[in-house]
C-alpha cells in the first residue's frame, strides 16, 4: 500500500489546521454560512437532511487495517456508531457535529486519511478496480497509476474550480469492474507491442443525462498519461459550460462538440503540454510502484475443500480468482437480506480490520458496489475466514445477485433525494432471499437511486429503480437493460412509475419473464437484450 511521505502528511495536516481555524471563525460569527459553505465542502463536510455529513476519501478504495479501525473510531467517537460505504469507494458519516469536524479530520490525518476533494467542482477521489493487484486477468497493477493521478490532482491549482465535479476511474483488464465508461475520464491500461499505455475514454457519466464515454485515444504511452489527462482537463476547463450546472459536466461538452472535435482539441493541447513538460518524473512513478510490491505470498493448496454446502455457496458467489493460484479475493457482503446496503457498524469495521490483518496482509478494499473485499486470502484460510464472518452475520453469499443491491442513502438521509431508496432495497432483498429465488436468478444487478443524480447507478442496473416526487408522494420508475461492466449500456424506462408496493411487484414480474424466457447460460441482462422490452412491459403493465 502507498504510505504518505512527509509532503503528503504535511499537506494534510496543514489542511486540518486551516479548517480548524475556518470552523472557529464560523462558530464565532466571523464567517457567514455563504462564506463558509465552500470551505467546508472542500473538506467533505455537507449539511444533509438531519445533520452534517462527512465524506472521507478512500483512494482507489484501499484501506489498511489501521485505517479501517480509525474509521470505526470516528464512527464511535464523533458519529452514531456506523458509517456508509458509497458507490465511489468512499465512506460517509451521517451525524458529525460541526464543532467536532476538525478533531475528526485531525484523527483521520494520523492514519494518512482526509476528506479533501470529496466535494466541490474539482477532481474527486480516484476510483479503481477493487481487485487491483490481485486479479488474475489484469495486465498491470492499476494502483500506482491511480496513486499518481491522486497526487497530480490533489490541490491542483488549475483544476480546483472546474465547471463541475470530475471523476476518474482506472482499470487494467478487459473486464470492467469500476464502471469505467461511466466516469468523466475512464482509463484502461493496455499493452501495444509490449509497451504499457492508457486508453482514454472521456465524457461518461450518470446523473440526469447519462452517457457512455466514447474512446478518445486508444493508446497513450504510460510515461505521458498524466499529460494526456491534463490536456483533457484543460480543454474541459476552457470550454465546459459554467452558465448552467445541469449542462456543465464534461459529458455535455463531448456530446455537444462531438467526440472527433473534442479529440482534436485534446490532441492540440496534448502536443502543447508535451512541449511544456508537465509529466511527473519517471522516478516518482517508480517510487510509488515500490509501495505496491506483492505481499509475501506463500505456497499452499490451490484447491478449496468446499464440503459444507453453505461454505460452497459462499465460495462460489463471494470469491474471485487471484493471480496467485493459492489465493483468492474474498468479498464481504454488506447486504445481509433486509439490511441497509453499504452500512457497517463500528464493531463490524473492527472485525473486518482484524480479519484483514489475520488473513489478507493487512489490506481491505471498498468496492463501488458497497461491499468490502479482502484482496489476498490463502485458499487454506478460507474456511476459517468464512466461519468468522458467519459468526458476525457477514457471510451472506449473495454477490452480484438481486440481493446485492446498490442503493444511495435516498430521502432517509440526503437533502437532494425525492424518494427513499433504502426501504425499497430492504424489502426487495428480504423478499428474494426468503423465497430462495435470488440463487435461481443468478447474476442480476439491481440498483436504486432516490433522485435523478443517480448516486445509486440506476441507469446501469440490469434492473434500475429511480425514485421521483409525484405530487408530494414517492414514486418509482423502473428501467431495464443497463450495465456498467465491459458490456456497458444504459437502462430504458419500462413505462409509468409505481408506488413502493407496485415497483416491488413489477420487479417480481420482470424476474418471472426472465425465468420463463431464458436460454441456457443466459443472465437476466442477456435475455433482456435478446427478447427486448416488450415481453417485460406486457407482464408488468398487463399488455
Amino acid at each position: 500500500m502507498y504510505r504518505y511521505d512527509h509532503y503528503d502528511q504535511a499537506m494534510v495536516e496543514a489542511r486540518v489546521a486551516e479548517f480548524r481555524d475556518q470552523t472557529r471563525r464560523r462558530l464565532e460569527g466571523k464567517l457567514t454560512e455563504e462564506q463558509f459553505k465552500p470551505l467546508r465542502l472542500m473538506n467533505g463536510l455537507y449539511l444533509q437532511l438531519h445533520a452534517y455529513m462527512l465524506r472521507v476519501a478512500i483512494p482507489y478504495g484501499t484501506l489498511s487495517s489501521r485505517q479501517l479501525e480509525m474509521l470505526a473510531t470516528i464512527a464511535d467517537k464523533y458519529d452514531r456508531g456506523y458509517g456508509h460505504f458509497t458507490t465511489r469507494q468512499n465512506i460517509q458519516f451521517n451525524w458529525i457535529r460541526l464543532e467536532d469536524a476538525p478533531d475528526a479530520l485531525a484523527d483521520l490525518a494520523t492514519v494518512e486519511m482526509h476528506a479533501i476533494q470529496t466535494s466541490g467542482n474539482c477532481i474527486r477521489n480516484i476510483s479503481c478496480d477493487h481487485f487491483a493487484g490481485a486479479a488474475a486477468d489484469e495486465i498491470a497493477d492499476p494502483r500506482p497509476y491511480a496513486e499518481l493521478l491522486r497526487q497530480w490532482s490533489s490541490f491542483h491549482p488549475e483544476f480546483s474550480y472546474l465547471p463541475r465535479k470530475f471523476k476518474i476511474a482506472v482499470i487494467a483488464s478487459e473486464r470492467d469492474r469500476a464502471a469505467m465508461r461511466l466516469h468523466d475520464i475512464g482509463i484502461r491500461l493496455v499493452t501495444r507491442g509490449g509497451a504499457l499505455g492508457a486508453q482514454f475514454y472521456v465524457g461518461g457519466g450518470m446523473g440526469r443525462t447519462p452517457m457512455i464515454a466514447p474512446l478518445i485515444r486508444d493508446f497513450v504511452p504510460i510515461d505521458q498519461f498524466i499529460t494526456y489527462a491534463e490536456a483533457v482537463l484543460r480543454v474541459y476547463n476552457r470550454y465546459g459550460r459554467r452558465d448552467n450546472k445541469y449542462k456543465a459536466r464534461i459529458k455535455i461538452l463531448v456530446h455537444e462538440l462531438g467526440a472527433e472535435a473534442f479529440r482534436r482539441e485534446v490532441e492540440a493541447e496534448f502536443a502543447h503540454l508535451i512541449e511544456v513538460g508537465v509529466e511527473p518524473p519517471r522516478a516518482e512513478l517508480e517510487r510509488i510502484k515500490a509501495h505496491f510490491a506483492d505481499p509475501p505470498f506463500a505456497e499452499g493448496p490451490t484447491t478449496i475443500d468446499a464440503g459444507d454446502p453453505a461454505f460452497a455457496r459462499w465460495v462460489e458467489r463471494n470469491t474471485h480468482a487471484h493471480r496467485h493460484p493459492a489465493y483468492v479475493s474474498a468479498i464481504i457482503s454488506l447486504k445481509p437480506a433486509g439490511d441497509i446496503p453499504g452500512d457497517a457498524s463500528a464493531a463490524q469495521m473492527r472485525l473486518v480490520a482484524e480479519l484483514a490483518r489475520q488473513y489478507s496482509f493487512d489490506e481491505v478494499r471498498v468496492m463501488h458496489t458497497q461491499n468490502l473485499l479482502l484482496p489476498h486470502v490463502a485458499k487454506a484460510d478460507l474456511p476459517a475466514l468464512w466461519q468468522a464472518l458467519a459468526r458476525a452475520g457477514l457471510a451472506s453469499a449473495n454477490i452480484d445477485t438481486i440481493e446485492d443491491i446498490i442503493a444511495c442513502p435516498g430521502l432517509d438521509y440526503c437533502s437532494l433525494a425525492n424518494a427513499r431508496s433504502i426501504p425499497l432495497a430492504q424489502r426487495l432483498s428480504e423478499r428474494f432471499a426468503a423465497s430462495g429465488r435470488s440463487a435461481v436468478l443468478g447474476e442480476l444487478k439491481l440498483k436504486i437511486s432516490g433522485c435523478i443524480n443517480a448516486c445509486g447507478h440506476h441507469h446501469a442496473g440490469h434492473i434500475g429503480i429511480l425514485g421521483v416526487d409525484k405530487k408530494g408522494r414517492e414514486n418509482y420508475q423502473l428501467s431495464l437493460g443497463g450495465s456498467e461492466a465491459e458490456d456497458v449500456s444504459l437502462a430504458r424506462i419500462t413505462g409509468p412509475g409505481f408506488d413502493e408496493d407496485g415497483v416491488i411487484a413489477a420487479v417480481e414480474k420482470a424476474t418471472e419473464v426472465y425465468l420463463a424466457e431464458r436460454k441456457e447460460g443466459e443472465r437476466f441482462l442477456d435475455t433482456y437484450r435478446r427478447i427486448g422490452m416488450e415481453p417485460f412491459k406486457e407482464a408488468i403493465y398487463g399488455g
Binding site: R26, L27, G29, E33, L47, L49, H50, A51, Y52, R80, W95, I96, R97, L98, E99, I340, L411, D412, Y413, S415, A417, R420, I422, P423, Q426, G472, R473, E474
Partner: protein, 99 residues
C-alpha cells in the same frame, strides 16, 4: 400554517421555531405567519440557527404538527430505516405519519 425549520449551527441537528427559541420537536413549532422572514434573518444573524427556511404544515386532530412535504416529515423524525436514532417523540407520532 407556516413553520420555520433549520439546523443547529454547532451540531447540525434539525430544529423548529417555537416562538421563543428552537426545539428538536416538530410538535413545538408555531405558525410564524408573515413574521417568518424577519425571524429567520434575526436568528441566523445571531447564529442560533443555520440555513433556516419556511415550510407549510398543518396541525392534526391529535395536536401533531405535520409538515406538508415528506422531506420535512423525514427531517422531523429521523431516518425511517434507523428508528433507533429517531427523535424521542417519534414513537408517539408513529412512522405512518411520515408517509
Amino acid at each position: 400554517m407556516r413553520i420555520i425549520t433549520g439546523n443547529d449551527l454547532r451540531t447540525g441537528a434539525v430544529v423548529w421555531w417555537t416562538g421563543s427559541g428552537w426545539s428538536r420537536f416538530v410538535d413545538d413549532a408555531i405558525d410564524a405567519g408573515d413574521a417568518a422572514e424577519e425571524i429567520m434573518a434575526r436568528e441566523e444573524a445571531a447564529r442560533r440557527v443555520n440555513v433556516p427556511y419556511v415550510c407549510e404544515a398543518s396541525r392534526d386532530a391529535q395536536g401533531h404538527v405535520r409538515p406538508a412535504h415528506i422531506k420535512d416529515r423525514v427531517r422531523a423524525l429521523g431516518p425511517t430505516v434507523r428508528r433507533d436514532l429517531a427523535v424521542p417523540t417519534a414513537a408517539r407520532t408513529g412512522w405512518d405519519w411520515v408517509i
